[in-house]
Amino acid sequence: MAGGMPAAAVQAQAGVPYRGVLQEKKWVRRTLIGVALLFLALVLVIPLIFVFVYAFNKGIEVYFASILEHDALKAIRLTLLVALIAIPCNTVFGIAAAWAISKFRFRGKQLLITAIDLPFAVSPVIAGLIFVLLFGVNGWFGPFLAEHDIKIIFAFPGIVLATMFVTFPFVARELIPLMQTQGSQEEEAAVIMGASGWRVFWSVTLPNIKWALLYGIILCNARAMGEFGAVSVVSGHIRGQTNTMPLHIEVLYNEYQYTAAFAVSTLLVMLALLTLAVKQWMEFRMKRYGQGEGEH
């Protein structure tokens, strides 16, 4: 525009305020920003603050008492344990799937990519029901499981399975696009220099994907700990035994123990905030190391 003249000069010459092609009029800009901010406040910020206000409205002692109460502690423990099993499994799967999809040519690749997204498309309740139909008393494997006295539905294994199903795509989804843009030439270079497959993975592939991997794991974790629908179907809601944190919160809420319900909720909210913080930090690191841009 204007033969490379600085914007200020053009402005001074023409005597009208300089505007870029995409700069709307002032009132349009202000209205749009205002609407966005208002919406954000109404839907996100106020409810979040409300959680904390309610959690602390009977004082800090009640807050801690609600969290440290026997059933609450059991629920927290169960949630952590489920996450501890589900996340490593999905991490290993995610890396394997992303590796296969981005580095190899094979039949059914597109099908695999689509299948990975299935848990996003299926309602969590249905996910839970699938496991009831498979492992429940009247399910496919029901008689076999009853015979060998193995309990999956309304027990710990069922909760883990349902959680794994729901959190299945997170790691793979983060890694696939990154690994596809990075290509496999660095790995090839390492192999030609004599590196073994294991060495290539640890010293070339993993450092290149570590931030995306970490973010995938964090997202997976947030979802695993917060999952309600699928877990609700398979857990059986046995207090102090098969209630995870979200289920425990529901029980408290249904019993009109609002303060306790919100107190336990604050833990999940803080997990969400931590997830966001890690995401921000990761994006900063990615930019700094030029991952996903430039070189390839």
Binding site: Q185, E188, A189, I192, M193, G194, A195, P207, E295, H296
Partner: protein, 352 residues
């Protein structure tokens, strides 16, 4: 290392990328694989490295068949088109990688990396990450990294393609010098004939998966064996037949003719070396080429190009001018034959 390829074939699905390719590379030679993009050059290079397996045919290193030898064990240095530097490692760590994999003692690694950093002129850059380097510097790192573990064969895939024109010329000279110093058998892939002619000791011309010709740059330039080589290497214009070209009436009538601008002389009778072997043409257009003029001349309805020195008299479109074609190539089926202007042989030699 002496390298030999025998009857290599490679297909990707229905695409026959390499067809019956055989060649031998002498130890210490710098060989250019030249051909148009998508012609199978990179596939040949990747088969030598072991990154692709030939469907048929054998590869021998120093007489030993290496088809089933894993790329890790082939002792090859490979420079990728986009370098494929390890992006999270410093320049030092990139160069040291191959030596660390070999579990060399630390002081030896440091010594070797230091040596290569000096050889490639990267001193002071040791701690930088790849994204902090310019294209030319990245290429040097890739080269140093490939050479560090003392490979016996160096393979370069379009080593200059990602660098801008000015730096490319410098790097070419640098690379040729560097490879001369190290004395390693080297194969590089390029689609740029100027680059291949300038850098290579020997060229292999590849087209549509097949080898068209193998030889030194001079041989290939002066004596192209196939129509493809004749038209791909060097500048040229191809004519549908040779009718009406003075001095070439002994050429078969219905074959295509290839004329190189450097073998066409323009001028008045006084200027030409042998006016009796020339004919008159009309200048259609002139193009300034920096170090010479390229002149488009209409000759009996045929268009030929001629190179003209900047020192010579300036000519303009529309001028009538004498045209002397010294030699041309007859493209007959799969062969290309060089033919001299018959009238240039003086009809009355002095010694009679």
């Amino acid at each position: 290392m002496h390298v030999e390829a025998k009857n290599l074939h490679k297909s990707f699905g229905s695409f026959h990328a390499v067809r019956d390719v055989s060649f031998g590379l002498e130890k210490g030679k710098l060989v250019g694989l030249l051909g148009p993009s998508g012609g199978g050059k990179t596939t040949i290079l990747r088969m030598l490295a072991g990154l692709e397996t030939p469907d048929r045919g054998d590869i021998y290193f120093d007489g030993e068949r290496v088809n089933d030898v894993h790329p890790q064990k082939r002792k090859i240095g490979f420079v990728f088109q986009h370098y494929a530097l390890f992006r999270h490692m410093t320049v030092y760590d990139n160069i040291a990688f191959g030596l660390k994999v070999q579990k060399q003692p630390k002081h030896k690694i440091a010594e070797r990396v230091e040596e290569l950093i000096h050889l490639t002129g990267l001193a002071g850059m040791e701690k930088r990450l790849p994204h902090q380097l310019s294209g030319g510097q990245r290429q040097r790192v890739a080269f140093a990294r490939a050479l560090a573990p003392y490979p016996q064969l160096l393979l370069l895939d379009e080593p200059f393609a990602a660098i801008d024109a000015k730096v490319r010329k410098e790097l070419r000279t640098w690379l040729k010098e560097m490879i001369g110093k190290v004395g390693i058998t080297t194969v590089f892939v390029t689609h740029d004939q100027e680059e291949a002619i300038e850098v290579a000791d020997e060229m292999i011309i590849v087209n549509q998966g097949k080898i068209e010709q193998i030889g030194t740059p001079q041989e290939i330039y002066q004596n192209p064996k196939t129509p493809f080589v004749a038209s791909f290497v060097g500048e040229s214009s191809v004519l549908p037949d040779g009718r009406g070209l003075k001095g070439f009436d002994h050429v078969p009538q219905d074959v295509r003719i290839l004329v190189r601008p450097e073998f066409v002389e323009l001028g008045t009778d006084a200027e030409l070396t042998l006016p009796s072997a020339s004919q008159t043409g009309r200048v259609k257009q002139t193009y300034f080429r920096g170090n010479h003029w390229l002149v488009e001349v209409d000759l009996e309805g045929k268009t030929v190009f001629a190179a003209r020195s900047l020192e010579a008299r300036v000519i303009h479109p529309g001028d009538r001018i004498g045209v002397l074609i010294h030699r041309l190539y007859v493209l007959d089926g799969d062969n290309s034959i060089m033919v001299e202007n018959r009238l240039k042989q003086d009809p009355m030699p002095v010694h009679i």
